[in-house]
Symmetry: C2
Subunit: 121 residues, 2 copies
DNA sequence: CTTCATAGTATCCATCAAGAAACTGCCATT
DNA sequence: AATGGCAGTTTCTTGATGGATACTATGAAG
């Protein structure tokens, strides 16, 4: 019990292991990590409900992976989301997951390219 | 929907994203990836129930990450579990998760060592 | 003045995963 | 003869997650 709770790997998995989280991170990364808005993400992350997206963005904000900025110039308030520095660095994990998957489990021409047409990674 | 289902990253996460999975993989890796038995794993992976361990080992076996071998010399039948080649290679992902966690989220003296005293990674 | 889009929140409900606990069958030990 | 270990399976229950749907408030567009 104690050893598990102290494990960096486990604590990290707690942050990123939830459904949709990777998907959202990936979506934010696309297009040179440009800022994105709520409904834009909702469309891209096909199938996610607004409730879940809202929850995940909040969690990722609290964990420091995603920046939520209020654009004060607009009215009504418009928030934009983008990856923080740690969120961008997280793409390295995603990259290693992808490499393992391609090596051992899946054939995917798109992902085999240096830049996958689906995930842009 | 389609893009998600075709994504190598997502398919890989499906395999390894479940609770306890990483823990079991890590435990199998320890001690130079020596063969381990059911109750041995149950003790090491503190808190897991036999039911869940049984389920996970089956899944990991089907996905090719874990080898289950029947030791025919013993009676009654004794199965031993160990990482397959792809399972061992999977440690690279775990390593990158650990590095990210240590860089951005957690301070952990043990994990900071080249060989963590908890996870032996 | 009605409808649409944005950016979510609120409510309810169904499913599923996981925990607890007991049980099986076989063997070795005491 | 009884206890305990090994390797799980079975049953029952609960808690959390996520899906569906509707709703709010604001402003723009037609």
């Amino acid at each position: 019990m104690d050893t598990m709770k102290d494990c960096t790997i486990y604590k990290t998995i707690d942050i990123i292991g939830k459904r949709w989280t990777l998907c959202i991170l990936l979506e934010l990364y696309k297009g040179n990590n440009s800022e994105k808005r709520f409904n834009e993400l909702k469309k891209k992350v096909a199938g996610i409900t607004p409730k879940t997206l809202s929850t995940r963005l909040k969690e990722l904000g609290e964990d420091g992976l995603v920046k939520r900025t209020l654009d004060e110039a607009t009215d009504p308030m418009v928030y934009t989301y983008s990856l923080s520095e740690s969120g961008a660095d997280f793409m390295e994990i995603i990259q290693s997951i992808k490499e393992w998957g391609l090596e051992w489990k899946f054939e995917n021409k798109a992902c085999g390219l240096s830049k996958c047409k689906n995930c842009k990674l």
